[in-house]
């Protein structure tokens, strides 16, 4: 199968769906003339001139206008530039987009896709590095998508572009350039279906985004020691695939959860609590969570690396959960 980058997969999904559906249009900062600062919209350069729009830096309106456009029958795809900047317009997302349907008794089709870069990059420092996906898992009213591979990016974005509800997609900055197999033929990945990225029998590692790759690397290392790690990529946090995780725990009896966002009250806490509620008897050891230390992402490389987890953090957690 051909291999393309994560950014190219994203671009392909946009291109295919925009050709099919004239109500899709996309806007944000630096996307039309620049193609996105990570090259994520390069495939759209020069195409759909009236439907790919550079906007003022006005986050509250970027998000709020998406709701208005959706209510009159359009399907806006909004890029949030950097996940950290969502906070500058978060009221339009949380108080308007996410609540509109429920508080109006089911009115309107809120076909809004919010997507963009998140996660730690090399020394981008505190205001360009955050992974804030947990917030949107906590508040009801939006589907939360967090892909880790080009294949998943394309299939999940295509599903998002046909969804009649709001969707937010977190794309890790360090993933845009990675390559992976993506079929030429059309496919869709449903929300709420985790992917077992590596089968194993000794311990389950549940991860998302960049930490899926770190967990796979950890699994390779641990294999040399005879430890067989199963790596589950949740792919979507709302809804999340409880069944897949529970079934895996029933098999391995050990669970490690790995995410890049802060460990304290990160989405791993929700997964751990749920497994404890639903499959406590299958656990041979307490669940261990891997996450960023509860401090802001610092600039200096050794500081950043100390705060943010990587494959070594996963290896350490697996050893601890197996008591080896």
């Amino acid at each position: 199968m051909r291999e393309i980058t994560f950014a190219e997969a994203l671009g392909e999904a946009m291109l295919e769906e925009m050709e099919r559906d004239p109500t899709i249009f996309t806007y944000g900062e630096d996307i039309a003339k620049q193609g996105g600062i990570f090259g994520q919209y390069k495939s759209l350069l020069g195409k759909f001139k009236d439907r790919v729009i550079d906007t003022p830096i006005s986050e509250e309106v970027i998000y709020g206008s998406a709701l208005g456009a959706a209510l009159v029958g359009m399907r806006p795809v909004v890029e949030f530039h950097f996940a950290d900047f969502i906070f500058t317009g978060i009221t339009s997302i949380v108080n308007q987009i996410m609540k509109f349907k429920h508080m109006t008794g089911g009115q309107g089709k809120i076909r809004v896709v919010l997507r963009g870069p998140d996660g730690v990059a090399k020394s981008a420092a505190a205001q360009h590095s955050e992974s804030i996906e947990t917030i949107f898992m906590h508040i009801p009213g939006i589907f939360v998508v967090i892909p880790s591979t080009p294949y998943d990016m394309k299939g999940l974005l295509k599903t998002a572009l046909r969804c009649d509800d709001p969707v937010i997609i977190f794309e890790h900055k360090m993933l845009y350039k990675i390559k992976g197999p993506v079929p030429e033929e059309e496919y869709f990945i449903p929300f709420g279906k985790a992917d077992i990225k590596r089968e194993g029998k000794d311990v389950t590692v549940v991860a998302t985004s960049r930490m899926v790759h770190e967990s796979l690397k950890a699994a390779e290392e641990l294999e040399k020691e005879g430890i067989d790690v199963e790596v589950i990529d949740l792919r979507t946090l709302v809804p999340w695939d409880k069944e897949c995780v529970i079934n895996s725990v029933k098999k391995t009896h050990h669970l490690v959860i790995a995410h890049e966002t802060w460990k304290r009250a990160g989405w791993g806490a929700e997964v751990a609590a749920t497994v404890q509620e639903m499959a406590f008897d299958y656990l041979d050891a307490p669940i261990i969570r891997v996450g960023a230390k509860n401090v802001h992402i610092a600039f200096s490389p050794p500081l950043q690396d100390y705060i943010v987890p990587d494959y070594k953090s996963v290896i350490d957690a697996v050893r601890r959960v197996l008591n080896v």
Partner: protein, 328 residues
Amino acid sequence: MSDYSKEFLQSLYRTMVRIRVFELKAEELFLQGKLPGFIHLYIGEEAIATGAMANLRKDDYITSTHRGHGHMIAKGASMDRMMAELYGKKTGYCKGKGGSMHIADVSIGVLGANGEVGGGLPIAVGAAMGLKMQKKDSVVISFFGDGASNRGSFHESLNWASVYNLPVIFICENNQFASTARFKETTSVENISDRAVAYSMKGITIDGNNVLEVYETVKEAVYRARNGGGPTLIEAKTYRIKGHFVGDPMLYRDQKEVEEFWKKEPIGRFENYLFENGFMNNQEKESIWQEANKEVETAVKFAEESEYPEPKEALEDLFENDTGYDYF
């Protein structure tokens, strides 16, 4: 002296009366303890919704405020379903999930009242953007208060509307109070319409208690918007005769001031105009009030006889399709 027909003028009067009667009834019901939550009344501001909406078609849109009952009625919402929503009944516009502050009827172009001050402006520019892309000639009116004009959403939305030349009319209902804060003490300009200059659009301040002045001003703005001329900012100066919400002790103002403004309220003023120019007689006036009272009584009856939602209906309407979302 007037080019208006008697029917048209009486229809404006009727709309203002219907709003007033609805609001007085809502106040009464609230004070009787029949309505949960809290409500924000539009009494004294009826001329703005009425004059503005008289220019709109059904396929035009509005965004409203937390003081939105008047906008809804003027845009064609049903009193029955509004009253039912105020009661929290399942027959209400939001099936009891939204209440007074979140009433919407997308099918008649009401893109929502809004519990957030200034929350409707970004939605309005987005709707205008969508309509323009679909090459429709519909327009959007975004209502907001003087308090909202100090929020970022106001400034961002005006810039946005101007940059993309959108068919939006921003109507600021300057009722002199943002909750308990006086306009003059919290706002950097004397006229909010002055802020239009910063966004390269026409700004105009009008007497918001004069329904015909509102009608004419909005008419011109709607014409401009419908024909590709872009946005307008209209500041309609009015006065919030009632408190921020029903039950507000109003410690921040003198009762004498309120009494002064009762003398300038829009319905009585317009009534005098209609009488003096022979557009309405006493009998017609009586019948308009009677009709409105009857309509509101029917609405109350409808609301009171309606069922409350089943508790588990709280879980409905979060998403268009239930795709495995976890509600527990």
